[in-house]
Amino acid sequence: MRELREMKATWIIAVFGILFTLAGPSVLELFTIITLAQVIGLSILALSLALVWGFGGILCFGQTAFFGLGAYAYVIAAINFGGSSWAILVAMLVAAAFAAILGYFVFYGRVSDVYLAVITLTVTLILYSLIRRTSGPEYKIGNALLGGFNGISAPPLNYPWDASAFLFPEQVFYVAMLALIIAYVFCSWLVRTHFGRVCVAIRENEDRAELLAYDTRLYKLGIFTVGAAIAGLGGIFFCIGVSRVTPDVFSLPQSALTIIWVIVGGRGTLIGPILATFALYYLTSALGSQSVLNTNLVLGTILIIFVLGVPKGVVPAISDLMQSRRGRKALRARERRLQRRRPSSTHNATTTEGAE
């Protein structure tokens, strides 16, 4: 478990997360706590794209497809099972299975990254129009009516295997935060494993990875599927937070937002997109409550500005800045050492260290 020891920054961030979780309900208003569940769901979605795109190099424009499928699968399963415990598992499995099938076609067809972006986006949009048309009583899975563009109301979370004991909003908040922290630590661990490192290598140079005898299609399919399961997990908390799932989870603005979180937070970092989700969520809700500036207008502008001006995203830009400072300091220290004619020590800096 060498990987776990390398994750110092990850553990520090996780501790901050736990402190926030414990302090939240006593500091924040109940209404905020209730909304936070959906923001946490969205930030898990951002985390999943940070993994798939930022580390796997897979330009998935339709990460919300898995998010939405997770949400729908959770709601449908929870209604049919009469409880939420197994439904959570079903939701993640449905999202992962869908990604595995889609991924088989695109990765084994060796579709290029731009095509992949467009295909995943198209799949999402077609899901959107498909689900919107399911408003009749004939569209139902088990006991769950799909409800067309009105969606389905989401059953609340309950205590494990006791469907009659619903969780209170604070408890939902605890569970959601716990899921986020676990997913975050898991992703951070994953990118340090052999599997994760090969995925990063494939992102850097797929041909080279092939020539080193790695079946790159399989690795891409793997990280894509894991990412989808995490996105599905995000979908669960999102629909519990809004207490409803509607086709809007598959909509174009939702896909665009997910991309914007990762662009703004930065590719190659896991915490960046999570923080960007929280920040932009509050920005867009503030924009939604006024009528001067249209939300789409602002988001479009942010996206263009970041692509042109800060292509790496906020968190990598800041850490680059800090690194170049540290680098200069290290260089000076090294020069001093050399003057004293001591052998230079080797240190094990790794680029995945950025993945807190």
Binding site: G109, T295, T301
Partner: protein, 289 residues
């Protein structure tokens, strides 16, 4: 018999519709390797041009056939100058920037015209009857104009100096600029041409679909799938993919309704791409335009 003619007419209409909404995207993609995610918004702007013009007393034919390509073509040129030209060779960034542009246009039009449908215009031309079935004359007109548009683009690419130089520039930009061709100008005009064709398509469709700031979303999924399935060759790709996917969509829609028609279109495209990752014209008809 009448039923058969009516069904065939519907399927041909679906095919023509696919070709119409995809052609502008295909021009920009085939010539510049840029996938324009704001394509749907170019169509939307074409629709708004028609609505605004007819509301101000402009003849509907002039609004559709002249103003919508002109206005959107100009917008395309401006977009190319202000944004796209900084991103050549960076395909992923171009995708992202055009997505930003798409949001920006939606936001802008919503701010100006509001989020709901602007005044609708009823389709010109009446109803035609095939035996006991009726079809809209405007749909027949759209099929005709799509064919004309494909021929026109073919002639521009094949016959005019602009087309020749543009094809040369796209194949080898360095060589072309060594020969004294202004590559920058060619890219600008190509993007403008693609935008104009998209604008015309949006204008043509406005009487049928109405206009909304978010109407682009309705088209883009189909347009992307058609262009990617078609591959790099603009005309051969768009035409062959439209025929194949349009037929699948048309037949399945006829049997089961429009919902599954779209799903069938998508499935057909994904299976096609598994077999031909570079699209139809990446595997066959390679030397075509």
């Amino acid at each position: 018999m009448d039923l058969l003619v009516s069904i065939i007419f519907q399927i041909v209409y679906v095919i023509a519709n696919l070709a119409l909404i995809s052609l502008g995207l295909a021009i920009i993609f085939g010539m510049m390797r840029v996938i324009n995610l704001a394509h749907g918004e170019f169509l939307m702007l074409g629709g708004y041009t028609v609505v605004v013009a007819t509301n101000n007393g402009v003849n509907i034919w002039i609004a559709i056939l002249i103003l919508s390509p002109l206005v959107v073509g100009l917008i395309g040129i401006i977009v190319e100058r202000l944004l796209i030209r900084f991103l050549y060779g960076r395909m992923v960034d171009t995708l992202l920037a055009t997505w930003g542009l798409s949001l920006l246009f939606i936001g802008l039009i919503t701010s100006i015209f509001g989020a709901s449908t602007a005044t609708t215009i009823s389709p010109p031309l009446g109803v035609i009857t095939i035996g006991e079935y009726t079809s809209s004359g405007y749909e027949l007109f759209l099929i005709g104009i799509t064919i004309l548009l494909l021929i026109a683009v073919f002639l521009v690419l094949k016959m005019t100096t602009l087309g020749l130089v543009a094809r040369g520039t796209m194949q080898n930009a360095e060589m072309a600029s060594a020969l004294g061709v202004s590559t920058s100008r060619i890219y600008m005009l190509t993007f403008g041409l693609g935008a104009a064709v998209s604008g015309l398509a949006g204008g043509l469709l406005a009487p049928i679909t109405g206009v909304l700031p978010t109407i682009g979303t309705v088209y883009i999924a189909k347009a992307f799938i058609t262009v990617i399935s078609g591959g790099m060759a603009i005309l051969a790709g768009t035409t062959s993919a439209s025929i194949l996917l349009g037929a699948v969509n048309g037949v399945v829609s006829f049997v089961t309704g429009p919902t599954l028609g779209e799903v069938a279109l998508l499935l057909a495209a994904i299976i096609l791409l598994r077999l031909m990752p570079r699209g139809i014209t990446g595997s066959i008809f390679r030397k075509s335009l």
